[in-house]
């Protein structure tokens, strides 16, 4: 026994790890990292409807409607009970995402190409925002490029 000790001290020096044991910390940190990465991937990505509204310098009194294309479509949105009705010339429907979208698509096809069309969405005061968005989404689906929102009628 004494001989063995003597040899060890003379010929080899066992390595001693003097720092803290990092393995548990790495484990915990990796778990936190995976949690954040998964958490960020579960959040559904944003989805936007983009609109370029006409900028008005000096207020609404300076709006020149003559500058807009002469071909115009006015989509009135009105509340009937708990539902929202879209009213256009030749159409009155509560099916905003179906019938209105089809009507607008056919309307766009019927118009000759290259003719700019100004679409107005004119909701009344009580129309929920989600129905306004649905009507606007229909306009995008029908490939209308110039869509504007009209202020609600004064009460």
């Amino acid at each position: 026994m004494a001989r063995s000790t003597k040899h060890k001290s003379r010929g080899m020096h066992s390595a001693h790890h003097v720092g803290p044991n990092m393995t548990p910390m790495v484990d915990v940190v990796m778990v936190i990292l995976i949690f954040f990465m998964l958490g960020s991937s579960f959040v559904s990505p944003d989805w936007y409807l983009t609109n370029n509204t006409p900028a008005i310098k000096g207020g609404l009194s300076n709006v020149k409607t003559n500058a807009m294309p002469p071909t115009r479509i006015n989509i009135k949105l009105r509340v009937r009970g708990t539902r929202t009705i879209a009213i256009l010339p030749g159409l009155q429907t509560a099916d905003l995402s179906g019938e209105l979208a089809t009507f607008l698509t056919n309307k766009h096809k019927a118009l000759s190409k290259g003719v700019p069309v100004q679409v107005f969405i004119s909701p009344s005061n009580g129309v929920p925002y989600k129905d306004v968005i649905t009507a606007y989404s229909d306009c995008i689906q029908a490939r209308f490029k110039q869509v504007a929102f009209r202020p609600p009628p004064a009460q």
Partner: protein, 146 residues
């Protein structure tokens, strides 16, 4: 005597210090991003769905306007709160606020986060304020259906 010629043992552990540095940086990054996203977006807003939205690749120069519904229902006295960076902006001062933001950053883009149930009479003033401030680009935040 056999072990006399053995070389001294070396530490064979992998040096994990750079790994920890990188991982800690990533965690701090995720924490900051989450914090910023939380500050810009307000809870309690049910975003409407839309079939024909698109992703925004360029998310720079965004100004998020949150329209938070009141807890007790809508009336003329309880209009939705207009929150920008968690600061409540009165409707009467919104156009001036946006005009100042537009002056500071001419490339500013407004993102409207409004609750799906808000009546249009409370949304229209925000759109009008944007137009009065000369902000032409408005993005309506929606969710994919389903």
């Amino acid at each position: 005597m056999k072990i006399r010629g053995i070389k001294p043992m070396q530490d064979t552990h992998v040096n994990v210090t750079p790994l920890i540095d990188i991982i800690m940086c990533l965690i701090i990054f995720f924490l900051l991003v989450g914090h910023i996203a939380k500050a810009a977006s307000v809870k309690g807003i049910k975003i409407p769905t839309a079939k024909n939205g698109k992703d925004l690749r360029d998310k720079s120069n965004q100004l998020i306007i949150n329209l938070v519904p009141p807890t007790g229902g809508y009336s003329n006295d309880t209009a939705p709160a207009i929150l920008i960076w968690n600061n409540r902006i009165p409707e009467s001062q919104l156009a001036a606020y946006l005009r100042k933001q537009k002056g500071d950053n001419p490339k500013i883009k407004v993102v409207l986060r409004a609750d799906r149930s808000i009546p249009y009479r409370f949304v229209a003033p925000v759109l009008i304020s944007c137009a009065q401030a000369g902000i032409a680009s408005i993005h309506f935040m929606t969710r994919r259906p389903g």
